[in-house]
């Protein structure tokens, strides 16, 4: 379709701006940048905003606010720049999350490597060197969808679900990684294990990550992982730095 970006209503709950029909890196960047711009506008009718992979949702009470009024403002904002080429917003964080690859903690590393056509050492080298971005958060509170990995990681989800992978599991499929918030059945392959927690209910900041944050997953030994767990190191031993 050529009518992108597209504006539409979402029931009576708000308005969506879609930048693509399918996941793509430029469309995700566009959604990230556009959401930041909408937030900066601080329109009183917009009670909250969120982004999924390639779109931005504005929560607006359409019972009291005419959709056309907001749509007009959105169109005016859309034409101010090429959102697909817009720079990523400021105020993001880069996280380095210590990760045990393979072993009994993450038993599908070898299988995932084989599907990707890599030997396990090369798979670990690539995953621990990759720098990925939070494309969106969802499915469970604070749970990030991270991408995109190199094309070789365009591996399908497995046919049969793994009954349960634990909190902090790093799983891979379709050029993306997820850190699981809670124990979950999944078709994604469990390649690494972290002590990172996406969602901590009673913390001052219950959600560790925001859309647009970037992450790396440096490889650590099992003993280091055990030390992080037993010492209850904050954020599972992850270090963070501001992205300038």
């Amino acid at each position: 379709m050529t009518d992108l970006p597209r504006i539409d209503t979402v029931g009576l709950s708000g308005i969506i701006v879609s930048f693509a029909e399918a996941m793509s890196e430029p469309a995700n960047r566009a959604a990230l940048a556009f959401r930041a711009a909408v937030e900066a506008e601080d329109w009183p009718e917009v009670s909250e905003t969120m982004m999924s992979l390639v779109s931005v949702f504005l929560a607006v009470d359409l019972v009291i606010t005419p959709a056309a009024a907001i749509e007009e403002r959105l169109r005016a904002l859309l034409i101010t720049r090429d959102w697909y080429a817009a720079p990523l917003p400021k105020g993001r964080t880069l996280w380095h999350v210590p990760t045990v690859y393979g072993t009994d903690l993450a038993p599908q590393l070898e299988e995932a490597a084989e599907v990707a056509g890599l030997d396990p050492e090369e798979a670990i080298r690539q995953l621990s060197a990759a720098r990925v971005r939070v494309l969106t958060l969802g499915f469970a509170p604070g749970q990030p969808y991270l991408g995109e990995l190199p094309e070789v990681w365009n591996i399908p989800r497995q046919q049969d679900l793994t009954k349960s992978v634990p909190s902090g599991a790093l799983v891979a499929a379709i050029r993306q990684l997820i850190i699981f918030t809670a124990p979950t059945p999944t078709g994604w392959r469990h390649v690494g294990q972290t002590a990172f927690r996406n969602f901590q209910l009673n913390a001052a900041q219950p959600f560790a990550l925001s859309p647009g944050d970037e992450l790396t997953f440096p490889s650590i030994k099992r003993a280091e992982y055990d030390r992080i767990l037993s010492s209850e190191t904050p954020h599972g031993g992850a270090e963070r730095e501001a992205i300038a």
Binding site: D8, T9, V10, G11, L12, S13, G14, I16, S18, A20, E21, A22, M23, S47, E48, T49, M50, M51, S52, L53, V54, S55, F57, A59, L62, V63, A67, T136, L137, G138, F139, A140, P141, G142, Q143, T181, A182, F199, L201, N202, P206, F207, S210, P211
Partner: protein
């Protein structure tokens, strides 16, 4: 030690609920809160307090309760058999709950989600701005026998009032507006969808309610693979089996199954309350019509406080006695004697 409501015996799915949490969609957390929000407004009108107060949500059946101080309660939502020290209590009404008296709330006679309100609400510690349990997200939990809930105050509340609620416990017609994925479904599929008599499937909870029908499924053109997009409460999602699911307050925030439309907010209590097997139908209406309906529904919620009636009044005070639905409102908590 502040006063508490003791749960002597808990039904299978008791949880504390309020209006839920807004502002966390971007982090993957839906609003949650009471499955039937109108029931919270009704309880607040009966006790004479704000609808922000948390209440106990009881799915299918209640439990046995006892307060350590005199308080006032209200019972709303799904109609359940209730007794106080053995004497029947009227549903959709407010009552005194004396300290130490046994309040027994049994199985639902109509509807699914019943609510037990106390004067001034419960004083549990708010988490992320609300007291609601979001079971799917791991916030709060189901309440168990032996749990105690702190009462917010010893406020007297207002016992002895009843309300004739909007009838919403038996299923019926659900009004639907188009949404941004409605166009993925052919005109023919949408027409068939709106002509189909559905039944509420037993598979249903605070995340979503499955609708069952005989005949072909309601598939989107081009199949099921669309990019994951925002979900709003009331969205009607068609998953792999072709059956529609109405997504409820604890759904995920995004999903990759296409949605044929969205049930309007004021008909969501009807979805929540429909018991397994209840008939349901979807009717598409225009945005303009939906806005009119929602505007009226909000005005009616605001007017609830003026619609509550004293439970016992001197007939001389009631000039229009014959206009009251005394039967519907006044004896509904008892088992229907004509039912076999």
């Amino acid at each position: 030690m502040s006063a508490v409501l003791k749960i002597l015996s808990a039904g299978p799915a008791l949880s504390l609920q309020d209006m839920g949490r807004e502002g966390y969609l971007v982090s993957g957390l839906t609003r949650g809160g009471a499955a039937d929000r109108l029931a919270l407004h009704e309880g607040a009108a009966l006790v004479g307090q704000t609808a922000e107060c948390a209440a106990l949500e009881m799915v299918g059946m209640g439990g046995t309760f006892e307060a350590t101080t005199d308080t006032v309660i209200a019972l709303t939502g799904a109609r359940m058999a209730a007794t106080l020290d053995g004497a029947p209590l009227i549903w959709n009404a407010s009552h005194v709950l004396p300290a130490g008296a046994k309040l027994v709330i049994g199985g639902a006679q109509a509807g699914t989600y019943g609510y037990l309100h106390v004067a001034d609400g419960f004083a549990t510690e708010p988490q992320m701005g609300a007291r609601a349990s979001h079971l799917n997200a791991g916030i709060g939990r189901l309440l168990q026998s032996g749990d105690s809930l702190p009462l917010a105050s010893n406020a007297p509340g207002r016992p002895g009032y009843f309300l004739t609620p909007e009838n919403r416990l038996q299923g019926g017609a659900l009004r639907v507006v188009r949404s941004f994925q409605t166009c993925h479904f052919s005109t023919e599929t949408r027409k068939r969808f709106s002509e189909t008599e559905f039944r509420r499937d037993p598979r249903g909870n605070r995340q979503g309610v499955r609708m069952e029908a005989t005949g072909e499924g309601f598939y989107a053109e081009g199949g099921l693979s669309i990019v994951s997009e925002v979900i709003t409460t009331g969205d009607i999602q068609v998953a792999g089996d072709g059956a529609p699911y109405v997504l409820m307050c604890e759904s995920q925030t995004t999903g990759g199954y296409p949605r044929i439309g969205t049930v309007i907010p004021s008909d969501l209590p009807k979805v929540a309350q429909a018991a397994a097997g209840a008939p349901l139908r979807f009717t598409f209406i225009s945005h303009e019509e939906a806005i009119d309906i929602e505007t009226r529904a909000r005005a009616e919620i605001k007017a609830l406080g003026s619609r509550v009636q004293p439970l016992i009044r001197d007939p001389h005070d009631i000039a229009d006695l014959l206009s009251y639905q005394l039967v519907g409102g006044a004896i509904s908590a008892n088992a229907d004697p004509f039912e076999t």
